[in-house]
């Protein structure tokens, strides 16, 4: 499990303390928008994999709520960037997140049944924890636009809820 979690953790470590810290500067609003959007898309993809694979009611319900919530927030994010006339800008952190997610997807694809359920939900706990850390310490403090900051703050509350929901499902699977 430790090994499985490493890729995502490494990508987010890059986000938290890696390139931004080394460069001594902060991500710009267009970069923050891209990172937040990418993080949402990744979780929707992961949930779709779970919906196609899992037969566990609690896992399916969790995955369905991930698709619903993250799609809703990303829709709001797209509306906001359109309104602000900001073009989300791809960056190394977004790329690293996507790469880590792809690796995780391949790993999970090899699992079935209860093994898949546990691995998926544990990764969801870890993933939301890491994204929340990034939101709190880097993305929210760096955001310049008040509306973007506010959306990120609501996002943080939402993802903290997801983390608790995932932790609850993880306990049920034990």
């Amino acid at each position: 499990m430790t090994i499985r979690l490493t890729t995502a953790a490494a990508a987010i470590a890059l986000l938290l303390g890696g390139n931004w810290a080394l460069a001594g500067d902060k991500p710009t609003d267009p970069q923050i928008a891209h990172i937040a959007y990418t993080a949402g898309v990744i979780d929707v993809e992961a949930a779709k994999q779970a919906i196609a694979t899992s037969k566990n009611k609690a896992v399916l319900e969790f995955a369905e709520s991930m698709v619903r919530d993250h799609e809703s927030v990303n829709e709001q994010a797209l509306d906001l960037v359109k309104k602000l006339n900001v073009t989300p800008e791809d960056n190394d952190t977004s790329k690293a997140l996507s790469q880590a997610a792809e690796a995780k997807r391949s790993e999970l694809a090899k699992l079935t049944g209860a093994d898949f359920d546990r691995a998926y939900v544990e990764n969801e706990v870890a993933y939301h924890k890491q994204v929340n850390g990034a939101l709190e310490t880097l993305l929210i403090p760096s955001a310049q636009n008040a509306e973007l900051k506010s959306l990120l703050e609501t996002g943080l509350k939402l993802f903290q809820g997801h983390q608790q929901h995932a932790e609850h499902v993880a306990t049920e699977l034990k």
Partner: protein
Amino acid sequence: MNAVRPAFLALLLGTAAIAVPAQAETIEVTIDRLAYAPAEIEAKVGDEVEWINKDALVHTATVTGGAEVLLPAKKSGRLLLQEPGSFDYICRYHPNMRGHITVRP
């Protein structure tokens, strides 16, 4: 006669007030950005709680080990309070959302 009528009316109204229990109320709780407001409410048996969900997210009001009201995005839902007690509730999808209802007899 004139003196009797008000007394008779008063008697009638007085009886009515005793026979009909206090009017049931609807207590509104708004959900905005993943928070119930007010988070704590007091009500009495027979009252209803109406949750008005302003978020573009699906929420619930789920009493621990009890009733659950599904609250679709931008919609509202109601619960009739049938028994007295002190109840914690959460959103099943976002368990960091917490509320409390005190129901008096």
